[in-house]
């Protein structure tokens, strides 16, 4: 629901960490969105469209998103398993676990630059 404010923060971060010349060379950036981040990829893309309107430097920069499923680590059998149907228990030994190793991501994972030939 706060996709627009998230994209504003992302934009501000990218601008603040790159020079004007570097910004021109960015082809895309990739965001990792954990299943538990409450950020919807389509809504994020829509928010990015709105952001591009007011920040034309991003017009040629693509936003890529990758959804990260939730995974928990089991302290009993030391395995990492994917959470299905929001049942937070180990698939092997059925022990409940809130030890989340993946799924909370809300990150700029990668900034991809144009190939400089």
């Amino acid at each position: 629901m706060h996709e627009l404010s998230i994209i504003h923060q992302v934009g501000a971060y990218i601008i603040s960490t790159h020079s004007e010349a570097e910004l021109q060379q960015i082809e895309a950036f990739e965001m990792h969105l954990g299943q538990l981040s409450n950020i919807h990829p389509d809504l994020l893309q829509n928010a990015y469209l709105a952001y591009q309107e007011t920040h034309p430097i991003f017009n040629k920069i693509l936003l890529k998103t990758t959804l990260i499923p939730t995974e928990i680590y089991c302290n009993q059998c030391h395995q990492t398993t994917q959470v299905e149907h929001y049942k937070f228990q180990c698939k092997f030994c059925l022990t409940p676990s809130q030890n989340i190793v993946k799924g909370n991501e809300l990150t700029i994972h990668k900034i991809i630059f144009k190939d400089l030939l």
Binding site: H2, V10, H85, Y86, P96, Q98, L106, I108
Partner: protein, 237 residues
């Protein structure tokens, strides 16, 4: 008897940011940084901080009114109440004798740590035992924002249906206590406490559940006891 808690927040690691590799920049890092500062400040002053979350209308303000009345001779309570607009909830709380400060978010659907920090800077917290934060009514966004609280308590009214936890897993995953409210209405609504319990336990086997009613007073003493134990624990830390 004071129960021994190993740590106050059992599900701390599931809130806000997680450790990420160097190439990643976590967008909630700024919030988490302020949340940590709030937590430190409140711990130094030995004030228990409880963040109440729920959908709009689940009974957060009513519960705080009842809590304030019941605990007024025992503890000094302050409330920070977040809403998109109006000061109605703070007014309601003040009428019940509870010291409340309204935070209007001007449309933002959740409270952020920075808003809490600014508010507590203005408050005289001397002698306060419990600071309640009534979050904006919303089961989605507030789940991602750590406010530096010791405990997150999520309310779900019997009129909302018993199938909600798995629809809003992150909120229930990050709550130490679930309060089923408006249980005086249970005879009139299709709500099975066992269904809700199963859903909550699937998500977080450690979450406690108390079914109560602010209107009739059912089980309010269980909630009072839950609070008292934690206030004393915080004081003795």
């Amino acid at each position: 008897m004071i129960k021994q808690f190993h740590h106050l927040r059992t599900s701390k690691n599931t809130r806000g940011s997680i450790n990420c590799d160097n190439s990643s920049f976590h967008l909630l890092q700024a919030n988490d940084f302020v949340a940590e500062a709030i937590h430190k400040k409140m711990s130094a002053e030995k004030i228990l901080v409880v963040n109440l979350t729920s959908s709009p209308g689940s009974g957060k303000t009513s519960l705080l009114q009842a809590t304030g009345t019941l605990l007024k001779d025992k503890f000094h309570i302050k409330v920070l109440v977040g809403d998109l607009e109006t000061e109605r909830d703070a007014d309601r709380l003040k009428e019940s004798g509870v010291d409340a400060l309204q935070i209007t978010t001007s449309g933002v659907c959740h409270l952020e740590a920075q808003m809490i920090w600014q508010a507590i800077e203005k408050m005289d917290l001397k002698g306060t035992d419990i600071l309640f934060i009534e979050n904006v009514g919303n089961l989605v966004c507030p789940s991602s924002f750590d406010l530096g609280e010791d405990f997150r308590v999520t309310l779900i009214a019997s009129t909302e249906g018993d199938d909600k936890p798995k629809k809003y897993p992150k909120m229930f995953l990050t709550s130490e206590l679930v309060l089923v409210t408006k249980t005086d209405l249970l005879p009139y609504v299709p709500f099975k406490l066992e269904h809700l319990e199963q859903d909550v336990k699937d998500i977080n086997a450690e979450t406690e559940i108390i079914a109560l009613s602010s209107l009739s007073g059912i089980n309010l003493e269980v909630w009072m006891h839950w609070l008292e134990e934690r206030v004393l624990f915080k004081k003795n830390q």
